[in-house]
Symmetry: C2
Subunit: 337 residues, 2 copies
């Protein structure tokens, strides 16, 4: 089967598993709680449907990792549901923390139901994620279930540590490139690393292979993020699907911006003056490019892409699923910089 | 040893275990994150000390349950730390959800560091709670650790479900007594039930005993809450340590209030007119009493107290710790209604 055929096979099973877990919170008393979760997951409410669900990249990575490490992908469904629930819990809380009114083109949970319910809905989904991963008891061994639970919780800790830095940076003025990696490793790398490692763990992979899968997930995350940061300033709108340079307007502490702030030159001076309008973007992007921010980010993105692909090779993914995993990685990283 | 001697033995060990778990999140990059947790836990910052820590009732219940079920209390420390971390994570989020500026006489985390950091700090502590309970692997068996983890997560789910109802009730006008129990079972009963059941589980208790300990914890929580609700309107200030009838001013959906709203009489009419000032409290409390709210709450509190003590007897707690557990229950429930 091709990547697309595997995705078409996996996706409905992922949605069923997610539904089963979320149904643990369903009860006549808590219909409203279920409604908020189902809305956020893209199952119900205005605008529900595939576009509202995101690409489910994390569970797909988990299942492909299991299959390519020689296991049965179906056994990894509890882990796949868990990583997607962790991802979505963090999105609900991030949207409050960032004051974001929209997510995937729809009003965010806090916008519709208020901050109090949104915080609690995120907490519920976080709990459901932990309940989800424990369902591995049914599909694997207790030892694997326990190890997987611990692995996911470690990833959650890194996620919250990365998020702490992201929020803290809002008020920090003296920033530099060293501040970038701990934040992105936590916010993006940790959960993707958990996806691929959990997948291999369910397949019963040895420690050497587990390490290779974990590194692949982490490096894929870092490479993807640095690419995204590049395109957020120098990408074209068609490729990114969002208005170009919105990252500068949104004051995102992205890789090129942190590089630029480390130079303490004209870009830093302009940045510290405050908000950048859409009209000013080309000029500020030029300042950043002149100081080396564009070349640096391009080099880093390429380096990390190579590193991620080398890690994938080291993991030695097998069969059709291995091919598909490689294809998925190339797809995610193919965006030219 | 007496209850007080056991408390004096357990409390320092609980603080050490909590510190060890919280240290998992400590790192030079995340010093500020640790600072917020240590502040909330009452270890650091303005006003730190025993008064800022609360009574640590939940971990004490867990350790006394282990010892009274024939186990080594030290083996239950990971579970004790876990329940206290869950409790404190929920307090941080509750304070945001309720817009509360003070907690145990000190500014709340969100008041000092903002809503975004407070949400994320709560998430971090929630994760640490899960990492804490898994440390039972070291002190018990993998099977017990896995079961304990699952048990705690179920309690967390009930906690968030109860919290959902609490928030939802703010905008609900047609309320009655049936709305009370699902909320309080989740918000108060579930975690206390987990404390006593986890304690007995660590002691290797059989299913029959586990059920008895669980019921004891749950009923203790419900009895304590109904007592608290009674005293929140008809208690005297010296006994409660807070100004009397603040529950009416704060529009708390307590047991007597929900009973009163079910009568749809003069109390309901007054309640729906909006805010009750401190001056109006005696009059509104009289309305509620005239409609049976006081007698009903008193009867319920007494019934639940008897039920909790009967559940404790069924659990058959042994030795000095059993005596102490019984004494602790009587202390918590002794407040006359």
């Amino acid at each position: 089967m091709t990547l697309q055929q595997l995705i078409d096979t996996y996706l409905p099973a992922i949605e069923i598993e997610l539904q089963q877990v979320v149904n643990l919170a369903k009860d006549t008393h808590y219909a409203g709680l279920y409604e908020m979760i189902a809305y956020h997951m893209g199952w119900e409410g205005q605008g529900a449907g595939p576009n509202a669900r995101g690409k489910r990249i994390r569970p797909l990575l988990a299942l492909l990792s299991t299959a390519s490490a020689g296991g049965e992908w179906g056994n990894a469904l509890p882990a796949a549901a868990a990583v997607e629930l962790v991802h979505n819990f963090s999105l609900i809380h991030d949207d409050i923390e960032d004051n974001s009114p929209l997510r995937r083109g729809r009003p965010t949970v806090w916008k519709l139901w208020g901050i109090a319910q949104a915080i609690n809905t995120g907490d519920t989904m976080f709990t459901l994620a932990h309940l989800a991963v424990m369902r591995l008891k049914e599909t694997t061994t207790p030892a694997i279930a326990l190890r997987a639970t611990h692995l996911l919780q470690q990833a959650c800790l890194h996620l919250t540590q990365g998020q702490y830095l992201d929020i803290a940076y809002e008020n920090k003025t003296d920033m530099a490139i060293e501040d970038y990696w701990p934040m992105v490793s936590g916010k993006t790398g940790a959960l993707l690393a958990a996806c691929t490692e959990l997948g291999a763990l369910v397949a019963g992979a040895d420690d050497h292979t587990l390490t290779a899968y974990r590194r692949f997930g982490r490096d894929l995350g870092l490479a993807f993020q640095s690419l995204d940061d590049y395109l957020g300033i120098w990408g074209d709108a068609e490729q990114t699907g969002k208005s170009v340079a919105s990252d500068l307007v949104e004051r995102k502490k992205s890789l090129p911006v942190l590089y630029g702030l480390g130079q303490k030159g004209a870009f830093t001076e302009r940045w510290l003056q405050g908000g950048i309008t859409a009209q000013e973007v080309p000029e500020v992007a030029s300042l950043l490019e002149a100081e080396g921010g564009r070349a640096y980010t391009q080099k880093e993105a390429q380096r990390l892409t190579q590193q991620a692909l080398a890690a994938l090779e080291a993991a030695n993914p097998r069969g059709e699923a291995g091919q598909a995993l490689s294809e998925l990685a190339h797809t995610l990283l193919k965006r030219e910089v």
